[in-house]
Amino acid sequence: MPDEAPLPVPATHDIGGAPRFRCTPVEPDDEAPPDAFGKRVDALRQLLAQRGLMTVDELRRGVEAIPEAEYHALGYYERWLRSITALMLEKGVVLPEELHP
């Protein structure tokens, strides 16, 4: 790419090469397998996809819609839950008052 024009700031999730993480170590011992919460969210994602209620592409779109500060503050499966619940609200599968009484 020519150096003249500054490029747009990448989307929050689009972090390949992001300078802000270049000095952050990757910790090979950081395993953290999913806890009960993570496994439940993961199972819901699969079950809702099997029922034709969402695609992995919609899941990604929902994760990408999370504002940057929250994106990095939320855990991985918390982001998924945010995306999945937003999608199911969008499609009328569940109602706002059921999720946010």
Binding site: G16, G17, R22, K39, R40, R51, E78, V93
Partner: protein
């Protein structure tokens, strides 16, 4: 480090599952059964594929041609799973898998991804400083080896078929599979005999 879900998230999940159950969309029993199925996927499947490819030329050819079929041949159901691609290391070329956009991972043959694979640091650095990332594992490649970083962005899921280590002549597939840990299948480590 991964952190525990916050109380808001836990409450949201409870309300969500209750609403889905009340509407008959997803029941608790179905969630439990799905978790059980998902827990069956494990890096030992990928390791068994690699070991078989090292000892069976026909299977090696199948892995190259169609990773999903090669997984099916090991008894894995790939129905509904994204196609599996196999990245074949060769002398002078080593593959490293990352997903910079999210965390695409060959779950059918490796199970749940480890936390580091999903971390911002790994996603950001693997495409820019792959040798620095490998150093965190203490992995150094043979002199003159090129790294091919595979950014898993779309419809495939990728696993690495590494080179069979020297000093394993005469080993059977079961013994060879013991050399192939999960991180070898992602490409952050090399298999080492002994």
């Amino acid at each position: 480090m991964a952190h525990a879900p916050g109380p808001d998230s836990i409450a949201l999940l409870d309300r969500f599952t209750a609403a889905l159950a009340a509407r008959g969309v997803v029941t608790e029993a179905q969630i439990a059964a799905q978790i059980e199925r998902t827990d069956l996927a494990d890096p030992r499947i990928g390791a068994a594929m690699v070991a078989r490819a090292w000892t069976d030329p026909d299977y090696h050819a199948l892995m190259l041609r169609d990773g999903s079929q090669a997984a099916e041949a090991m008894g894995v159901s790939m129905a509904g799973a994204p196609p599996l691609g196999v990245l074949v290391d060769r002398p002078g070329v080593h593959h490293l898998v990352v997903c910079t956009l999210c965390s695409c991972y060959p779950r059918a043959v490796l199970g749940y991804p480890p936390h580091w694979y999903k971390s911002a640091a790994y996603r950001a650095r693997a495409v820019r400083d792959p040798r620095g990332v490998l150093a965190e594992w203490g992995t150094t490649l043979p002199e003159g080896t090129e790294i091919r970083v595979v950014d898993s962005t779309a419809d495939y899921r990728w696993m690495v078929l590494p080179l069979r280590p020297t000093g394993t002549e005469g080993w059977d597939a079961a013994r060879l599979a013991g050399l192939v840990g999960r991180d070898v299948l992602v490409g952050t480590q090399l298999p080492v005999a002994g």
